[in-house]
Symmetry: C2
């Protein structure tokens, strides 16, 4: 089961009035360093600061007036929370967001600023699911899962679709992988809209459940993930895993030092703010996990939501 | 004495192969906050990370082969140093850069990475000028002053020229003021290429020599400037001061807190990296030093060179 080409085209049309067609940037210094051309799709400039606005907007605007009259709901400590709250406010409905108590101040402020209704819970998956169930039974809201939802996957696919339309003859596209919504969508768009584009995912070694699931062919959940890339700590979903098995060419893993080095390179050389998860594909290039020499590589920079009071840059990395 | 319209047009053509035509960005949140439309000309994305590449490139490529055969020279602890080194390397000549011993690691690394030849000196204006004199007498290099030079002013003017060509009906343009090269060029381009655009400069209150010179009509040097905006600590020049007196509508001053708040707003909302000097015009809007409600305002973001290991963001500003 996967979103067809028509679903992705429809998603792109549906969300166009509400999202940014983000720019694709290049950096001559970075190209020189790696001997290839890298095209960065800047979803850090997206509404609510991440690609998540694409899927959330597609889901919220695909629902009928009847279906959606009691609002939407999700549990999230990350970018999906803000994206869903913003999409709901654009549709004029309520967004109930279950957030663990240890969510970052920045993420909570973002949800509040978009008018989301926050319910706090203990920071365990069980507490999050239980609290969400209670919120839904009380409000009648529709659950919008952050990635294991075909409408979300079709929405996330529109980022790669735009890049493929804008940049000719890409040899490969890279995306980070957490729950797999962005990666699934990216792989589908590469197939639907590209010509022989290889799709390579990058994942922190400290949260390598997708890598292990992919190489073993068996779903392996994320247990005790340890990575600065806070968007990539989740497990794959029952919908995203088979799409990835079928449509992704490879998954590579990177070190925490590599992620910070890549993030610093993007900040210092491109003068743009990306969050650690965004830097994971470039980290794979830095760490020679794949060779992009002489190739045209597209990288999806997934988001730019960081806490400026808590940055990972230490003296002389 | 000032660069005529033809000089600015020639400068734009001369430097086009070597610099970026930088994007103009907007931010719906910031527009909503201030009730007007603000257009940010992103010179933080410029070659060598600042508008300084425009003037330096114009000066270096305007000199004849004979004039320039022994290279160029300047003293600078800031963005002019890197910009001149890069421009010289593009022309295939040597750049001798006198840098005070207390220059930041980042700025020294930038000059070195562009192949500049660094001579260190004590961190006083007298030592800088004396050392530069020695370097020039030894090498025969041509001095390229960071702002008090008509070729530099014409080069810096091209940033506002591009913005005026791209954004219709600007009501005002804002730029920060340090030595006045950017401000002079901006004011001239507003006059040459715009229609009734007001030009407003912003300056840190802790380095308000341009403000005091402008309001008194008498040149007042910068003595013991105290500001985080390291690009704005210098005095006006004998060429820039009269251009500013004649062509700038107003100069306003801002607090250090305002600069950091504006910088944070740009980083958090626009996801781009700007240095403190770039944030000074927006700080003036935040601090109600002028009212841009209902207006179309252009702001030149002067540069993006910051030390990521030494950022001014503290908990809950």
């Amino acid at each position: 089961m996967l979103p067809g080409k028509a679903s992705v085209v429809e998603a792109a049309d549906r969300i166009a009035p509400y999202i940014h067609r983000t720019p694709v940037l290049t950096c001559s210094t970075i190209n020189r360093m790696f001997g290839g051309e890298i095209f960065f799709k800047c979803e850090n400039f997206q509404k609510a600061g991440a690609f998540k606005s694409r899927g959330a907007t597609n889901a919220v605007f695909q629902l009928s007036d009847t279906e959606i009259q009691r609002g939407v709901a999700t549990h999230s400590s990350g970018n999906h929370a803000g994206a869903l709250a913003l999409a709901a406010s654009r549709r004029g409905i309520k967004a109930n967001i279950v957030m663990p108590e240890n969510s970052s101040r920045i993420k909570i402020l973002a949800v509040e600023s978009y008018g989301g209704l926050i319910t706090r819970c203990k920071p365990t998956l069980a507490a999050r699911e239980e609290t969400l169930k209670e919120v839904i039974s009380k409000t009648g809201a529709v659950e919008i899962h952050p990635y294991n939802d075909l409408r979300i996957i079709a929405g996330q696919a529109t980022a790669a679709k735009e890049m493929i339309e804008e940049v000719n003859d890409l040899d490969l596209i890279m995306a980070p992988v957490g729950g797999g919504g962005l990666l699934s969508g990216t792989a589908l768009s590469a197939r639907y809209f590209g010509k022989h584009i290889r799709v390579i995912a990058a994942e922190p070694a400290g949260a390598d459940d997708a890598f292990r699931s992919f190489t073993s062919g068996t779903f392996i959940p994320s247990v005790d993930p340890r990575t600065i890339a806070d968007g990539l700590r989740t497990s794959l979903g029952s919908l995203t895993f088979p799409i990835i098995m079928e449509n992704v060419d490879d998954i590579v893993t990177v070190s925490e030092e590599g992620i910070i080095e890549a993030m610093r390179l993007i900040w210092e050389r491109m003068k743009i703010i990306v969050e650690p998860s965004s830097a994971v594909p470039l980290a794979a290039i830095i760490e020679n996990k794949l060779n992009i020499s002489g190739k045209r590589t597209g990288i999806i920079l997934s988001g730019g939501n960081v806490d400026l009071e808590n940055l990972p840059f230490k003296t002389t990395v």
